[in-house]
């Protein structure tokens, strides 16, 4: 039997429920474990095979040789699609994925992140 306004009961119930949305800027626990965010490059372990560069679908990563067994990586955050293929392709587990997702920058030059020794990223620009 059809009865009009069947959804009305649910509507009234919803009045007393807590909101379905999260309290974002205050509560940042929304990202699950294993979320694919910003990349991290552990410079000391890199052997310079450039497999990550070959497999990257968007040409976002570039490995440059600095000296003997020294490499630095430049990751373009604007080009990166955060698929994590480079992490899978890397034979030495140099690259890893972090849960960092707030990557918007006002200055486009800061989107190019360079990692060299000491696991630190130094935004240039």
């Amino acid at each position: 039997m059809s009865r009009p306004g069947k959804i009305a009961r649910l509507l009234i119930q919803s009045l007393f429920k807590k909101p379905a949305t999260g309290n974002y800027p205050v509560d940042r626990s929304g990202m699950p474990e294993g979320f694919r965010g910003k990349l991290k490059f552990n410079a000391g372990m890199c052997i310079g095979c450039k497999m990550c560069m070959r497999d990257c679908p968007s040409e976002a990563i570039e490995i440059r040789k600095l000296g003997e067994k020294q490499f630095e990586a430049q990751i373009n955050l604007a080009k990166c699609i955060y698929c994590g293929q480079c992490v899978d392709s890397c034979p030495k587990k140099v690259l890893e994925i972090t849960a960092e997702f707030e990557l918007a920058r006002l200055d486009p030059a800061q989107l190019k992140v360079i990692f060299n020794d000491g696991n630190k990223d130094s935004p240039k620009g």
């Binding site: 039997m1 059809s2 009865r3 009009p4 069947k6 959804i7 649910l10 509507l11 379905a20 990202m31 699950p32 474990e33 294993g34 979320f35 694919r36 070959r54 497999d55 990257c56 679908p57 968007s58 699609i81 955060y82 698929c83 994590g84 293929q85 899978d88 392709s89 994925i97």
Partner: protein
Amino acid sequence: MHESGDVRIPIGPQHPALKEPESFLISLRGEKITASSVRLGYNHRGIEKACEERTYTQGLYLIERICGICSHSHSTCFVQAVEEIAGIQVSPRAKYMRTLIAELERIHSHLLWLGVAGHEIGFDTLLMYTWRDREVVMDLLATLTGNRVNYGINTIGGVRRDINSKQKEEVLKAIDILEERTKYYIDLAKNETTLLKRLQGVGVLSYEDAKKLDAVGPTARASGIERDVRKDDPYAAYAELDFKVISVNSCDVYGRTLVRLGELMESYSLVRQIIRKIPDGPILIKSPRKIPAGQAVSRYEAPRGEDLHYVRANGTEKPDRVKVRAPTLANIQSVSKMLEDRYLADMPIVIAAIDPCFSCTDRLVSIRDTKSKEKNTVAWETIRLKGIAWYKDKGIDFISLNKKLTKLF
């Protein structure tokens, strides 16, 4: 066919009732549609060609981005074809993982559709409710794969992420919530007068027409055609799982709603079976970078219908040809039939009922002379002049408009 006496209304490429740029030309007599024609091509992205420029691994991520809603469908369909060419036997655990993500994707796609359908008929409460519930499955997908859309779980030779016992419990818990909610929606669809009055007898596509026009997916199953690739040509782990193909005979938009709701319930039971049955073992088998020469066609039941990929390999790292037949391409012809002799106000819901995805569908057509085998290429300038002439034909003259504008300022 469009007749000269009727009022002709172009709907699109930009129109509030449409979610993507596509163009419909509708002939009207009073409020009734006498003829309609669809024109695609506003969303062409050249993905097939771009795949030829990329390696298989890179192409996989591009293929995944054909569609945001059925991204797993496209990527699974593609890897299945590549694996067939390379002769890679995927491990059973990887197959189960693919099936699990596929079913979760179907749940999210159908819930999304239900919301969109509610929105198109002016029932926005339904949109809010279904999209809120859809968040449950979206969070689940993010937990399992690392992303809400474009999961990136497939790779040639298996899957990239495994499922642990904690995640299994999370899946079961979320499925319980969703099942309860879906039962409510089924009850709603059967009893709510708004839905019944608005959807019954709208967008009718008879069994014969559906067969003739080659409809796929829920559109075909709502017209009584029991066609489902998961049953007819089982891929991944579907051969080992128990499920029903949902079909109804009402042939209208209401039937399509019932089919999708029924499929949601089947998906929940499938997910539970997968969690129970998933075998142990490796999830990834190392695949060669160079795929040997060969060709393969792969079929996949996407939430919207049958998806088809054709891959031809030439022994290098890059494919020779990739061809994608998205489900909307198979369904779009039936829209004209559904609109015939219907009211103009039904148009948005009738189009939405096939769950269209126009950017998946858009293709480039190159014209070849059969005698001289020469490709007929058109210069940019010719297209521009043709466009001006086409609008002039419709009574809009850009050149005179331009002159008027320059005089004004």
